[in-house]
């Protein structure tokens, strides 16, 4: 008897499942059709692409799979401006020692494609393939981020430090300002959290940081994916930009190795 009732049950349940599946399929088809029509029926403004780099698996594999020894040979051309050990002595040029591989590689691609405008770097990046950039990224990411404790090569632009300004800057770096939608710097630029394509700021020089923050705020630099830095720098006051840059530039930012 039990067997008979089981088959009867199956006879009623199976068609039900079939109709349910069909219904689900139909709804999904209708919905996907509606979505595509909503997209095509709305002629938008001309598309503006901030950067041609997207963090797909292939891109990450290329950007992080460089050969550091080949990078060492290629880096001879960079030494003149960016310093022999990746620490530049001029605020116009960023420090490259200990830089994040993905971030370095993305900037080189953006210089090549003209998404980040720099007459000097565009000429240099034009001569480097994607693999050359990955090699350089591997080399610079391996350079030590602290120099000899006897000299101040690491932070040549360090200024005389005002503790009050330092406290405000550290507050912004560690906690951000939620009221204005400024996330903490350290949640993407390390050491607490990293976001793909965000450079490490712990060893960056202050003059360069301040210049870039200003470029983001006034729209001179637009190669940040999904307007991240443009939105943040636009919310910061002039004084805050200076204080945060000085703080990182003086080697007081979080993530700096103790000397």
């Amino acid at each position: 008897m039990g067997h008979v009732s089981q088959t009867a049950l199956l006879r009623t349940v199976v068609p039900c499942c079939g109709t349910l599946a069909l219904l689900l399929l139909a709804t999904s088809l209708v919905l996907s059709g509606r979505d595509s029509s909503a997209q095509s029926g709305n002629p938008g403004p001309p598309i503006r692409v901030p950067s041609n780099v997207a963090w797909t698996d292939e891109t990450i594999a290329i950007a992080s799979g460089g050969n550091a020894f080949r990078g060492l040979l290629l880096a001879r051309r960079c030494n003149h401006c960016h310093g022999k050990e990746g620490f530049s002595s001029n605020p116009a040029f960023p420090n490259l020692a200990g830089d994040d591989r993905l971030s370095f590689w993305k900037q080189m691609q953006d210089f090549r494609s003209g998404k980040r405008i720099s007459p000097l770097m565009q000429g240099i990046a034009d001569g480097l393939t994607a693999h050359d950039s990955a090699d350089l990224a591997a080399y610079y990411s391996m350079l030590p981020t602290t120099s000899d404790p006897q000299d101040r090569r690491a932070f040549p632009q360090a200024k005389i430090w005002d503790p009050l300004r330092a406290r405000i800057a550290i507050r912004l770096i560690v906690f951000g300002d939620g009221q204005r939608g400024i996330p903490p710097c350290q949640s993407c630029h390390g050491p607490v959290g990293y976001v793909k394509g965000a450079p490490r700021l712990a060893n960056q020089n202050g003059g360069y940081l301040q210049e870039q923050l200003e470029h983001f705020a006034n729209g001179d630099r637009t190669n940040d994916i999904n307007m991240r830095m443009r939105s943040i720098a636009g919310q910061m006051t002039e004084d805050e930009k200076t204080m945060v840059s000085e703080c990182y530039g003086a080697g007081l930012g979080p993530g700096v190795n103790p000397r």
């Binding site: 689900l24 029926g41 938008g44 503006r48 797909t56 951000g176 939620g178 903490p184 949640s187 939105s231």
Partner: protein
Amino acid sequence: MKKKIQFVAAITLVALALLSTRYYMVDLPVWHFFGGGQGPDPTTLHLRGEFVESNLGAAEGPAGSLTMRMIAQQYLFVPQCIVVPAGVPVHFRVTSADAVHLLSFLGTDYGLKAVPGAVTEATFTFDKPGSFKIPCHEFCGVGHSAMRGQLEVVPRDQFASLLPGERRTCGPR
């Protein structure tokens, strides 16, 4: 019998309390989990599709309907400041570039979840003009506590109608 009546009364009170809170949290529809919702790739939002940065913000449809496109990402909303007219239904289309976020429109009754790889859509009407915060209401990472957007609801006559290709925000472009 008396206990039974007390029990039913308590349940009714709780149900009434729950019903009286008007909070419309829009989550992903069920059919998303059955292969229905084919959303945009979160890593290539800035290259193609409707979430390129020049297409974000308020857009006007053919029949005067308003569509608001937003991206939620670690740790800010783009556009950071959105502006809508009061008393007009606004159709939101929201996606995420990395983790799951939740737009909670403080001071209003609405919430909207942003999920990577899917577009969450809902139509909201903001009645009273003013300035509202949009904090992220779902833990998304270390910078979550500072993730906040801004919603400006302006009187209807102050919100001039948009041109076909125009997108309106009150944040940096």
